[in-house]
Amino acid sequence: MRLELEPPGSEDVRLTVSELIALPDDQRAWIDSALGDAERISDDHVRTRTGWPVRIVVTCTSETWRAHAFYAFFEHAAVAVLTAGSEDRLRACTPVLQTAMPCWRDGIAALSELWD
């Protein structure tokens, strides 16, 4: 099971994507752990293009800017991280975080897929 989203479209902006995991009981602790001690520049509760809830937190550590997107898909969760060298480059790419879709597929979903 994985998270699917469009690429950032810029070579100097890096995107890393987690697997889908079971939604943590303590989501605040999960988010705090992922963000660490980085300075939080912004923190927005928004939705993906199709309507899934996502929390996007922008942080800055020395010369590195990051946008963490924390998703909840029913009882599963995932995080995507954009990394850039400047805030402008990062902000230009953050809309891709709202293209995310869950892929719950973990093997076949329908019998007909076996005869591909």
Partner: protein, 315 residues
């Protein structure tokens, strides 16, 4: 009837197996040459074969066992058929890639085993590969194209012994919808979900003696207190011979939201087929449900047993 012997366990080659156990040897009129060997699981004798009925070697062929592998050697000794017993349940292209590399697959056919289980047969260069699909794993049989008939015969005679049980239904998934598998059931969501709030659930096909109308009544009774308006029910019959009912109803959910529901219950002995479309807002996906219903295939039913000799391994 035959005679039964209690004693020390030996392999089919006659080698004693450490540990407690019982050898049962029976000579029956209809199974004159069959040996039923019960092997114990112990640290001294790791047993890797799965429970099931492994077809006896065709006349003139020899049969050998290895780790999760059964090998049949042709009478001339120049060709082997390998049966891989514990392979993942995956599309045939991936199964072929595991045993034959990235060679091009030709002539893929859907086949059904003697037990009524689905399988596939295809040609890969000068080899043929047959795959027998269980619920959670697969048997992959590969051999020379010269022995395609033997490969197919082994697949047809391979016994998984899964019996009459809930199974995945065979249908064409709705194009563009995203699946969320849940064991043998799958829920499909439209591309715009959750903004486009709908879900289509394909339940496992299950053996039942109830009629679709009775099962529908049971389902509706659970939520009778939340029903909004009337239940509409129309008879339904598909071109594949499934007969049942299509009901539409509405339920009052939390927050005053009205949830609309289409329930389709179909039957063809001995199985029941069930689908549910649920949505809020406009009714936009009923045609998607009906397309899936039209594509539903009745599951094969197990024909009579062929009575062929078998070697039965039980861990």
């Amino acid at each position: 009837m035959g005679r039964w012997h209690r004693g020390r366990i030996r392999t089919v080659e006659g080698v004693p197996v450490p540990g407690p156990g019982v050898v049962l040897l029976g000579w029956f009129e209809e199974l004159r040459h069959a040996a039923y060997l019960i092997r114990p699981s112990s640290e001294d004798t790791p047993c890797s074969t799965v429970p099931g009925m492994i077809p006896a070697a065709p006349r003139g062929w020899t049969q050998r066992f290895s780790a999760n592998l059964v090998v049949y050697e042709a009478p001339d000794g120049g060709s082997r058929i390998r049966c891989h017993q514990q392979m993942p349940l995956e599309p045939i292209s991936k199964a072929v890639a595991r045993v034959a590399g990235d060679a091009r697959i030709e002539d893929t056919r859907r086949v059904v085993s003697g037990e009524g289980e689905y399988g596939a047969l295809c040609r890969v260069g000068e080899r043929v590969v047959a795959v027998l699909f269980a619920d959670a794993h697969a048997i992959v049989i590969e051999g020379s194209v010269r022995h395609a008939d033997v490969v197919l015969d082994l697949l047809i005679r391979w016994k998984l012994e899964l019996g009459l049980r809930p199974r995945r239904a065979l249908y064409e998934p709705p194009p563009g919808w995203r699946p969320m598998p849940n064991a043998l059931a799958t829920t499909w969501f439209p591309p715009g979900f959750p903004g486009d709030h709908a879900e289509l659930v394909i339940y496992p096909t299950a053996p039942t003696t109830s009629t679709p109308h009775d099962e529908l009544a049971q389902l509706i009774a659970v939520e009778a207190a939340s029903l909004v308006g009337e239940i509409r029910e129309v008879p339904l019959e598909t071109e594949h011979g499934l007969i049942g009912t299509h009901a539409t109803l509405a339920i009052a959910a939390r927050g005053g939201v009205v949830v609309h529901r289409d329930l389709v219950l179909l039957r063809r002995e001995p199985y029941r087929y069930a689908l549910k479309l649920e949505w809020t807002g406009e009714a936009r996906h009923r045609e998607v449900l009906l397309a899936v219903v039209r594509s539903l295939q009745p599951l094969p039913v197990q024909p009579s047993r062929d009575g062929a000799s078998q070697v039965h391994w039980v861990d």
